[in-house]
């Protein structure tokens, strides 16, 4: 199953978004988090991204969702150097995570999970 990795400057935001994705998503998906910097403060850590991606990847690849700024840059760097298959979704964090987790739980391949995450951008709120 394709794994999901949520990258946020804030550990609590990453864990909260993962909680929403795991429980509000349709079905059971693997959602790992890389929240905050290596010392637990606000920031991003490429080491934490690598750890989360390794934990989420069972061989079918991982989809990364990032909040902003250095989270996005760290995600891109990870994708560039990744041993396995990893894709950064161009998607809003929470909505994208729920969509990706729902699609991943169906056993869909990586490109379908990325597409699901990115389709979350089109769900207007007003």
């Amino acid at each position: 199953m394709v794994g999901i990795v949520i990258i946020s400057h804030s550990r609590t935001l990453a864990e909260g978004a993962a909680e929403v994705a795991r429980t509000m998503g349709v079905g059971k998906a693997v959602v790992e988090t890389a929240g905050g910097d290596a010392d637990g403060g606000l920031g991003t850590s490429l080491d934490l991204v690598e750890r989360a991606a390794r934990a989420a990847d069972d061989g079918d690849g991982v989809v990364l969702l990032a909040d902003l700024g250095s989270s996005v840059l760290s995600a891109k760097l990870y994708v560039e150097d990744a041993d396995g298959v990893a894709v950064l979704a161009d998607a809003p964090l929470v909505e994208g995570a729920v969509a990706a987790a729902s699609m991943a739980a169906t056993g869909a391949p990586l490109d379908a999970v990325v597409a699901a995450a990115e389709s979350a951008r089109d769900h207007r709120k007003t």
């Binding site: 290596a38 920031g43 991003t44 490429l46 700024g69 250095s70 840059l73 760290s74 891109k76 760097l77």
Partner: protein, 208 residues
């Protein structure tokens, strides 16, 4: 420049961003989250700590870049780390980099930063210092100047490029959220890039 000279450049850059940390943080506090000086000091200190005992310039730059990526925190970590790593890869296994190779390394650094951050000139980012620096370096090289003079030309263009960010409205990074209110401030990333280019020129001139 050989491996030890490039290592000296990393040490010199680290000393410079640490000396200027307060100023960089103040610039960042105006249009960002006020941590640029602290982050860069930490990242470059890690780079100094990760310098290999020996080896060619490329290896030194890649080791420094990797440390900066993992220890800096903030967007400047991936950006400066990528700049150094790409520059290092461009140097290959050469034991001594000549003026042409240093120019190629600088261009590779710029391309890496632009690929990762998707910033163009005029967006009020470090690219506004780095891009004119690369151009000035190439012009000096084409004019038959040696490495030290090319590096000095790059540093001066980088400084002017950074100063030119003051009237710009930010289109990338946190400052872009401020819209027109980002105008009138020196971009902290461009300012730190100018410091690092000056460190390179100083070491190239043997002033370190």
């Amino acid at each position: 420049m050989n491996g030890p000279e490039i290592a000296e450049f990393v040490r010199r850059a680290a000393a410079s961003v640490t000396t200027e940390a307060e100023r960089l943080t103040r610039l960042d506090a105006a249009i960002g989250d006020g941590d640029h000086g602290l982050n860069l000091s930490r990242g470059f200190a890690a780079a100094v700590g990760a310098l290999p005992a020996g080896g060619p310039p490329g290896k030194v730059l890649i080791a420094a870049g990797r440390a900066i990526v993992s220890k800096t925190g903030g967007a400047s970590g991936p950006l400066y780390g990528t700049a150094l790593r790409r520059a290092g890869k461009a140097c290959g296994d050469a034991d001594d980099i000549d003026a042409a190779l240093l120019g190629a390394a600088l261009r590779a650094a710029l391309e890496g930063v632009q690929e990762l951050g998707q910033a163009a000139e005029g967006d009020k980012t470090m690219v506004d210092a780095l891009a004119p620096a690369v151009r000035a370096y190439d012009e000096a090289l084409a004019g038959g100047n040696g490495l030290a003079d090319c590096a000095r030309a790059a540093a001066e263009a980088g400084r002017e490029g950074a100063d030119a960010t003051v009237p710009m409205q930010a289109r990338k990074g946190r400052a872009s959220y401020l819209g027109p209110r980002s105008v009138g401030h020196l971009d902290p990333g461009a300012a730190s890039t100018a410091l690092i280019l000056a460190a390179l020129a100083d070491v190239a001139e043997g002033r370190a």
